[in-house]
Amino acid sequence: MENVMKANNIFTIHIFGVNIPISDSIIMMWIIMAFLIIITLVFTRNLKTIPKGKQNVIETFVDFINNFAKNSIGHHWRSFAPYLGTIFIFLVVANIVSIFSILPTSGELYKITGLAFFKNIPEFTIAPPTKDLNVTATMGLMTILIVLGAAIRFKGVKGWLKGLLKPMPIMLPFNIMDYGTRTLSLSLRLFGNILASFIIMELIYGVIAPVVPAALSIFFDLFDGCLQAYIFVFLSSFYISEAVE
């Protein structure tokens, strides 16, 4: 169980005299990134004027993100739609990736097959990278930095500072505090939800026979994962629209 809760360092990169620990969540991120990049390249290959098959899928997705950005941010949607779309699709894939956690780990494969090859691969379970606080905190911080950048870019430093005094000057400390609390709430909500549903699913896998957990997995992995991704993106767009309007 403890194994599940904390991020395991798989290996360490030594570069420029520092040790960079590579945890399983970062490896999961790389896998997800590779998946998304390959999917993108496959889906956007030779776009045709008359969309067909996979092009319909990609156009629908991009259109959905664009409309979402248009509706929530309005005039400046162009600058933010790619960011919102990126974190949305990344979070969706990252949050629901735990449905693949039923695949055997390398240790289990070694036990079953007895091949030395699997012994050399570090023990690695497929888990959502968003159950690692490092990942969600980085995402929350990035969103808040983008909100800050958006406010300064579209309203100028003066406009942003003036905005801090709204609706009345006494709100200044709260407005400043907002940047901290929003970062915390964004990252902790996502982290807590995904970690909790992941732990619950691990427990269920441990005590209930196969097949039955599938229904629960649909709720905890798929539904909760998509919901949290949507909430994160929705709040991000809300903060951005508040900053630029």
Binding site: K6, P21, L36, T44, L47, I65, A81, N134, M139
Partner: protein, 162 residues
Amino acid sequence: MLESLNQYKFLMVALNLVVLYLFLKRFLFKRVTQFMENRTNSIQEAIDNAEKNKSDAVEMKKKYEEQLKTANAQADSILNEAHAKAAREYDAIIASARKDAEAVVEKARAEIEREREQMLKDIKGQVAGLALAAASKVIEANMDNERNRALVDKFIDEAGAA
């Protein structure tokens, strides 16, 4: 849980996200959005063109109809003019023909008159001669002098006038 926070992991995650963001922005969102907008624009352009062509055609049709109407009116007026001119010329020809005919008739009548007078004069002369001859035979004297002849002419004139 908080002790697991690590600044290098932070940086790695941020690097991952930035790379993913840049990639998806360049190859997915910008590209597909641009593509769809280009398509929307080209469709809009095509529709606008079609609309414009249609309105042009309607305008042209109206213009042609107008022209046709004017042409019809012109044709009518030309025809009417021609009719009027023809009628005028017909009248003129008839009038001149009538005038010519009258002139000819008049001339013929004058000729006849002249010939008749000439004939009458000739007859008168012969009658006078005959009368004189008869009278001289009757009185056995030659009456054929200037005075007698004037007398006989006067007599014949009086008889002719009577």
